[in-house]
Symmetry: C2
Subunit: 345 residues, 2 copies
Amino acid sequence: MATLSLPSKPLLRALVGETLMRPPWWLMRQAGRYLPEYRAVRATAGDFVTLCLTPDLAAEVTLQPVRRFGMDAAILFSDILLVPRALGQKLSFENDGPKLEPVSSVADLGPIDVAMLAPVGEAVRRVCRELPEQTALIGFAGAPWTVATYMVEGGTSRDFHKTKRLAYGDPARFGALIEQITTVTFDFLKLQIEAGVEVVQLFDSWAGALSPEGFDRWVIEPTKRLVAALRERFPGLPIIGFPRGAGLLYPRYARETGVDAVGLDTSVPADIGREHLQRQVTVQGNFDPVLLLVGGDPMRRTVNVLRRTLGNGPYIFNLGHGVLPETPPEHVAALAKLLNEPLNA
Amino acid sequence: MATLSLPSKPLLRALVGETLMRPPWWLMRQAGRYLPEYRAVRATAGDFVTLCLTPDLAAEVTLQPVRRFGMDAAILFSDILLVPRALGQKLSFENDGPKLEPVSSVADLGPIDVAMLAPVGEAVRRVCRELPEQTALIGFAGAPWTVATYMVEGGTSRDFHKTKRLAYGDPARFGALIEQITTVTFDFLKLQIEAGVEVVQLFDSWAGALSPEGFDRWVIEPTKRLVAALRERFPGLPIIGFPRGAGLLYPRYARETGVDAVGLDTSVPADIGREHLQRQVTVQGNFDPVLLLVGGDPMRRTVNVLRRTLGNGPYIFNLGHGVLPETPPEHVAALAKLLNEPLNA
């Protein structure tokens, strides 16, 4: 007889749709430059890619914020651009962000080299050994659209004109590129899951750049295929989608992609999240990182608004964007304290 | 007995809520670098501020696209940053955009100098003399929030952290700055209206950067006060609001600010615009400028989608963002032709 095993870690409980008295929490970019212990490791690693691909160091920085603040989840320290690298694209990080040699089709890429991603699996195994019992480990990848923008633009961009021009003007060619990215992204996530991550998050940071038709075709469709492939191979593994900037298309994303949870960016009103998203999926977010920078009363007030509205359903407290490097660690400690108190204290 | 005078210009008819067989159209940044005749004038003017403040030149570039393509509206060639300039802030334009000396409170500003804006009124009068009879003239200003971001950041920004930090952390100080901007913005629009513009548009290009509470306080509230002041002084003058990136907050903006029309950015789905906005206000937008760059079938298909959905109510065809400098003028000519044909031809 099969035993129905319900998860006990708070993050996993929220992801199967449970409403918790105290919502579980973690923060995007919780491992990062705002922590002095991170900066120390970063200085020894040299470049950023080396940090991601040295299992001991990646595991160490993954664990640092959990040790300090006791979040309900660690998120693997890694980078979404390891996927283009495994597709043969040169990658480096300069002061103003990532740099890649721009491509415009699969023909510009080398053969897929999944072995390049192997150190990430090793980092996951090391994190698992040291993670507190009630803390979940999240793996992640960029969603295909967002990864494609970096590959086509050669880095970040304000408006993604090159990528959009290719997507709108030559959808067959762009579709083949998206397909190739999706294949490697599946491999990247498979490797993380097999090594021990319990949840995956798909970052679609530039989902808001597209027209609605483009969003359907290049955000929803590839995400749906990726989610279906993961479901087939890893039934029951929770998937969080974060289509940043999706705006009025958030409900469509929640309805159609098949994800278990949707990450809300800073602009989504809590009441609309509750009415139009939380009936469908677990929601995660969306505290403004600038409020974490500000701290004090403005922080407390907004945290309470979120807990009073979204906290009445399946909810994971998080930011709506990553922790800012200038954030005082004491503000994160104050946030942790707030989130551990009962709501009406 | 008072005579009820209904407008005859197509743009004005759409703005009082009429559904037209052929929706009126214009394009954000229709006067600009994609036109060789603009580049010629720009070269003689020297710097960008001089171009805006030389009535003959500003009038000439305002009229150029209307002569070539016959849009239903001209939009005054000017800049939203003339307002900070009239507030005593130094302004220059470099290759990567506008530069200002950052401020963080009203105390950092000089006395208001509305006389600095006078050449804009003269440009309006010159445009009016030459405008075709059925073409409307639109004036504009930045909405207070967006103007404030430039003033506080000292130019454009990716994330507006300085401005948001000030707004969230010291709302009294930021509120006084917004108040001062609102005063001069009213003067700027008054001057344009008294000189002959028939419609005004408020550009809130960075409305999407705020948290929902910030949006209510710094986008909706100041816009509502500005709209109320304009209504009192110029009853019947149509006002278009463009809260770019408002996402799920678009309906709240349409409901609460009092504008007659709402500009939709490229991400808003036409069906949601029809269901949730067009019952309240005239809608304007939201063709993706990258599709205008691509032209051909992808352009035609999306134009038809917009006309079939939004065209069944009060609608002004426009882009969801400005014309891109690399746009071939022939694509704009093809668009003009498309928009002049009956829909099912």
